[in-house]
Homo-oligomer: 370 residues x 2
């Protein structure tokens, strides 16, 4: 009998690991990609479809759900799982990233962040305590500590101050997170400065927690710098705890970061670009609106086993996209999520079978081309 | 062994009838509601979901599909059934209604209608022959004759002229419709003038066809006048042929017109209003955005067995709608189509069981309230 928070490493191959993390709503098999359900729905999908695609855990967003419908409403409805009819594990972010990227006029003090809603301009306040209270009210399985997320580039002095505050906020987050089956993860910051990242890692991991994340990416930094940084920092994160790289990335990013020992990923990319008609295949990313697809009978990816590729032609997908049909968003999202989830399932199998190097190199050959 | 076009009346109760129409892609059980799949998709739905809801036949639109992606593309892809992955019967309209309601600058001559596309302003021409050619290329099971559809009100003299031309166009449609398993239906016009409707009925039914429709409604006429007219004209339509009332309507319209002997209906209403957050229940039409639903745990309709009502609360549906989520359109469409299809299934059972009067009166009591 395993209890929430237990993380078992089943295989290691180089720095890459295959593991199993137990949460109050079931186990998740790592390395794992977590689809993003910002506003209590993974856009265009039902929970049953997500499950059929092999999704094991999804994300919810504290910032969005706090503004609408409000965590009080969701708690009254029985929590986020019940509200959205997803009965597997849920990870919620702390709201930090969105406060700094979406809201207007945020004012940061030691106490927390005052900001105006991007929806209606209303004044709100988030702090470590408030973020914990919201995430606990949502009934989240994995709760993220409240951190400050700086833009890139930021002055070194600013990063140092911010890291220090993020560490103080982490201690306050831990003190406020009193919900017993939920797991609190700390977030390492430090921008693209390797020295500062290592200091932040040291500070954050000094607080004993069931998991740790690398935050502060996807804020406009050069992507190869992130790769190099994760390559060094990833393997130095606590070995027996799950390692989560927040908000990253492309299939190539996933492969490179699994190789650096990362266990968990989330990103809006597969769902967002799907709605814009961009589809992932093993032959590269494809824009479905290409004129050459006008009367193309073939499935988008003849090798793919997803519902979309089994039932529809490129011509039909192009027609739906050009017509602005809702079914376009649905079929494209199904395909892209299948691509990501299937990729990660294969990643995991390769690690378990001791064939990670071979699979990694195969992926790199596929993903690094013009 | 039945062949396409055979229409078997299984029970009659007053003017109401329960029947079975055979098409090249299977039988349909009448009275029936046909969801509208304008641009080769019933908005927000997959074919499998439609089937699960009990849909037996869907509509496609000649005007829209001719403009985009073009019937040549669809034919190359194996026809509309194959293109959109719907393998049950399909009825296509003739394009007449859309040419007159959607396009700009249409010029009507005896030969046909020249119009400009509402998409790009391009010049197009539709005639009985062209409409048949398009519908045959789509591989439609039930093909509608090309008619002129006047706005309401129109001068009596204009209606008389138009009816006469529609009858000449019907003969041209019949001569041009050479695809053997497809069924051609004629369309009775005549506006809201009972005398003219009866004359049009006489003229149109003089052409021997497998089915007949009442057209020219949903063009701004007072709805009670349509009811009165169908009450008189419906029972006078050929008894042994399916009778189709085009583009109508509300649940009340369906009940009143089944009572007048109508067998087939289509309408964008359940799908369109669903996307606007309006939902049909046996307690009346409900706007899901009502403030009182903010934290309402109950399903939209506790009596309803649809996927939406079995899995989601009013609070969640309201949240999705206010957030503009795609899942809102999906869940609302599922509910409304279930309502319509379930209503018609119950209508049919009542007729088969000789209990039509009782069920009709029950429906009227439910649907006629403030």
């Amino acid at each position: 009998m395993t209890s929430a928070g237990q993380f078992k490493i089943l295989a290691e191959d180089g720095h890459a690991r295959a593991g199993r993390l137990t949460t109050a709503h079931g186990d998740i098999e790592t390395p794992i990609f977590m689809p993003v359900g910002t506003r209590a729905t993974v856009k265009a999908m039902t929970p049953e479809e997500l499950k059929d695609l092999g999704a094991q855990i999804i994300l919810g967003n504290t910032y969005h759900l706090h503004l609408r419908p409000g965590e009080d409403v969701i708690a009254e409805l029985g929590g986020l799982h019940q509200f959205m009819n997803w009965h597997g594990p849920i990870l919620t972010d702390s709201g930090g990233f969105q406060v700094f990227s979406l809201s207007d006029l945020n004012t940061v003090t030691e106490e927390g962040v005052e900001f105006r809603s991007h929806l209606d301009g209303g004044k709100y306040f988030l702090s470590p305590e408030k973020s914990m209270q919201i995430q606990m009210a949502l009934g989240s399985d994995i709760i993220m500590a409240f951190d400050e997320c700086l833009p890139h580039p930021s002055p070194r002095e600013k990063i140092i101050e911010s890291m220090a505050m993020t560490e103080r906020w982490l201690k306050r987050s831990k003190a406020a997170m009193t919900r017993s089956p939920s797991l609190l993860f700390g977030i390492v910051q430090g921008g693209l400065d390797l020295d500062l990242r290592m200091k932040s890692l040291e500070g954050v991991t000094a607080v004993d927690l069931p998991g740790y994340a690398l935050g502060g990416f996807s804020v406009g930094e050069p992507i190869h710098m992130m790769h190099e940084l994760v390559k060094i920092v990833g393997p130095k994160m606590p070995r027996h705890k799950p390692r989560y790289l927040m908000g990253v990335g492309t299939p190539l990013d996933l492969i490179l970061c699994v190789d650096a020992g990362i266990d968990m990923f989330d990103c809006v990319m597969p769902t967002r670009v799907a709605r814009n008609g961009n589809l992932f295949t093993w032959q590269g990313r494809v824009s479905i609106k290409r004129t050459e697809f006008k009367a193309d009978k073939a499935p988008l990816d003849p090798e793919c086993s997803c519902y979309t590729c089994r039932h529809y032609s490129r011509a039909y997908l192009r027609h739906l996209y050009l017509s602005g049909e809702i079914l376009s968003a649905r079929l494209n999202t199904i395909h892209n999520l299948h691509f990501y989830l299937d990729l990660m399932a294969r990643v995991r199998t390769a690690i378990l079978e001791g064939a990670w190097d071979k699979f990694r190199d195969f992926c790199l050959t596929q993903f690094i081309k013009s």
